[in-house]
């Protein structure tokens, strides 16, 4: 009897899911990595104050997508965790299901993982620890991971590693971004890595790999890297 009821329940859930699915549309988001005025080249190198900077790894979490209308949240994505990875171009295109006929004038999302998720144990999909975005020596996700090499005009070569994260109180490195929008079909964002990684920053502090004020300070700069394409 219980088995039959379980089967009936499953059928009804499928039917209801389809009903819901029919009433949703898709918001396409594209992130375009750039360095200044140029798209980030296939070698992923750019110049900064005459020096050369090459990016080997660039991963970050975009999370907590919400749509607002006149300041009021009208939609929030469930399980909203998207890992974008420079070495996986397909990860830069997000297709997010939203309800049909939604009216919204603002998009909000986070750069990083919220503190509740950070203390709630292990998760799968983009949050799976195999993605290399979870600190193992001290709990917490790495919100933004950027690694590469720097070559000065004089030929000095140096590597840099930025693992930006931290979820506790003053060490919370999560950044919230808000953009005014005028349509809900497709949105393009530029992520200008040159606003985050400069020869000056690499020379001053080539490694930030744990939560703290340095990670928070550099994380604040990531906000200015995102720009909505007109």
């Amino acid at each position: 009897m219980k088995r039959i009821l379980s089967l009936i329940l499953a059928q009804i859930i499928v039917y209801c899911s389809n009903t819901f699915a029919q009433s949703s549309s898709q918001l396409e988001l594209e992130i375009i990595p750039i360095a200044g005025a140029h798209e980030l080249s296939s070698e992923k190198c750019f110049s900064s104050a005459g020096d050369s900077i090459c990016i080997d790894v660039m991963k970050m979490y975009l999370t907590g997508f919400q749509l607002l209308n006149k300041g009021v949240t009208v939609w929030s994505e469930m399980q909203s965790f998207h890992l974008i990875d420079l070495n996986k171009p397909e990860s830069f295109a997000l297709k997010i299901k939203i309800p049909n006929q939604l009216i919204a004038d603002e998009l909000v999302f986070n750069l990083g993982i919220d503190s509740i998720t950070s203390v709630s144990g292990v998760f799968g999909a983009d949050l799976d620890p195999t993605k290399g975005m979870y600190w193992t020596w001290q709990s917490g996700y790495i919100n933004v991971k950027i690694e590469g090499t720097y070559k000065s005009k004089e030929g000095v070569i140096k590597s840099f590693i930025y693992h930006l994260g931290g979820y506790q109180q003053i060490e919370n490195a999560l950044q919230t971004l808000k953009f005014k929008i005028d349509q809900l079909n497709s949105l393009k964002f530029y992520f200008d890595v040159q606003k985050l990684i400069t020869s000056e920053i690499v020379k001053q502090q080539p490694n930030i790999m744990s939560p703290g004020k340095e990670a928070v300070a550099l994380s604040l700069r990531t906000k200015s890297c995102f720009n909505l394409a007109k």
Binding site: L9, Y15, G121, V122, P129, T130, Y134, T136, E171
Partner: protein, 343 residues
């Protein structure tokens, strides 16, 4: 019309859901114990997952050279601590910086490691798996190895009803096994349940324990899970500042997690750096070896805990009542030998 359909669906789902059998759990909270801290909602206890977790716990595939398993430093016969080494003995004979703690009653723990660096049991195993002095492996490679090594594909299928092996599943399964390590069958427990009696010496030891030790080693778990500076002199070589490394706060300097005393008979050597080989040395430290410092636990500020030699012996007699032989020699916690013959 569509809205009406949706509402009707939801009502029917709600009614039918009441008839669907709930998942059977096998996690029993011992009588008079508090509710566990671990939230089972995202990882409901299941015997096939415990078994998978046990196989993973004893598997050397979790290490870079396939020679070290969790059990290498956490032996069931030492209440899942390590009696041979003061500091963890890891891969390629490397030595770590802390004493491997007992793994017992972890469902009640709200943080892990001596300094609380790990905030959730599910994430705990990541630390030793990836630490260069312990197992020096990556989770990506662990998952790859498990895909192609018997008996794991079969065990994952049995536990999760599909053959997918992910980092999430590996860690949740190890958690399942660790959650199953509940020790609540000591003589102390038997006395508390009125099924046994302390001897006069044990009774006096219990009285002294409650007077001098129980504020941190609180019953029934024999820890209050706080971080305390218990007056150990800083080891010149290790220079371990404990909790401060995690919080970056001076108030946490030299503080370490209060360990459980359950099965303490089996978990020597003692302290975060394994500096004391036996309980006599531990009690001597508390009675005459306290190093004063600004973060020292209040209970120890007045020259520690004054104990006569007889009192130290009585407290030791009580501490031996926390041994749970049923747990220590439970074959369900042991290496799953039958997997050696798995075809």
């Amino acid at each position: 019309m569509r809205l009406a359909k949706i509402i009707a669906c939801l009502i029917v789902v709600y009614i039918l859901a009441a008839f669907v059998p709930k998942l059977e759990t096998v996690f029993n909270v011992p009588v008079n114990w508090p509710q566990p801290h671990y939230s089972f909602e995202r990882n409901p206890i299941d015997s096939s997952k415990i078994y998978l977790g046990r196989a993973l716990f004893y598997s050397s595939l979790l290490s870079r050279n396939n020679k070290i398993s969790c059990a290498s430093c956490h032996s069931p016969y030492a209440s899942f601590a390590h009696t041979d080494h003061a500091l963890s003995h890891g891969i390629d004979d490397k030595i770590g910086s802390r004493n491997a703690p007992a793994l017992v009653n972890l469902a009640w723990s709200n943080s892990f490691m001596w300094d609380g660096a790990i905030n959730h049991l599910d994430m705990q195993a990541l630390f030793p798996i990836t630490h260069p002095l312990e197992m020096d492996e990556t989770m990506q490679h662990v998952v790859e190895k498990l895909h192609v090594n018997r008996p794991f594909p079969k065990l994952f299928y049995a536990a999760y009803k599909d053959s997918s092996i992910t980092g999430e599943r590996v860690l949740k399964s190890i958690s399942q096994f660790m959650l199953s390590l509940v020790s609540a069958e000591s003589k102390y427990d038997s006395v508390m349940r009125n099924k046994s009696e302390f001897t006069l010496q044990e009774k006096n030891g219990y009285r002294l324990f409650k007077m001098h030790c129980a504020s941190c080693h609180a019953e029934p778990l024999f820890t209050n899970y706080s971080f305390q500076n218990n007056g150990l002199a800083v080891d010149d070589h290790l220079q371990d500042l404990g909790r401060m490394k995690v919080t970056h706060a001076a108030k946490d300097s030299l503080k370490f997690k209060v360990p459980t005393l359950r099965n303490i008979e089996y978990t020597h050597p003692y302290m975060h750096d394994g500096r004391f080989k036996n309980l006599t040395q531990v009690l001597m430290h508390y009675s005459s070896g306290i190093t004063q410092s600004s973060t020292l636990a209040n209970q120890l500020k007045k020259d520690g805990i004054p104990l006569s030699p007889n009192e130290r012996v009585d407290i030791t007699a009580f501490l031996l009542c926390l041994s749970d032989k049923k747990f220590i020699f439970n074959p369900s916690n042991d290496y799953p030998k039958e997997l050696l013959f798995d075809k």
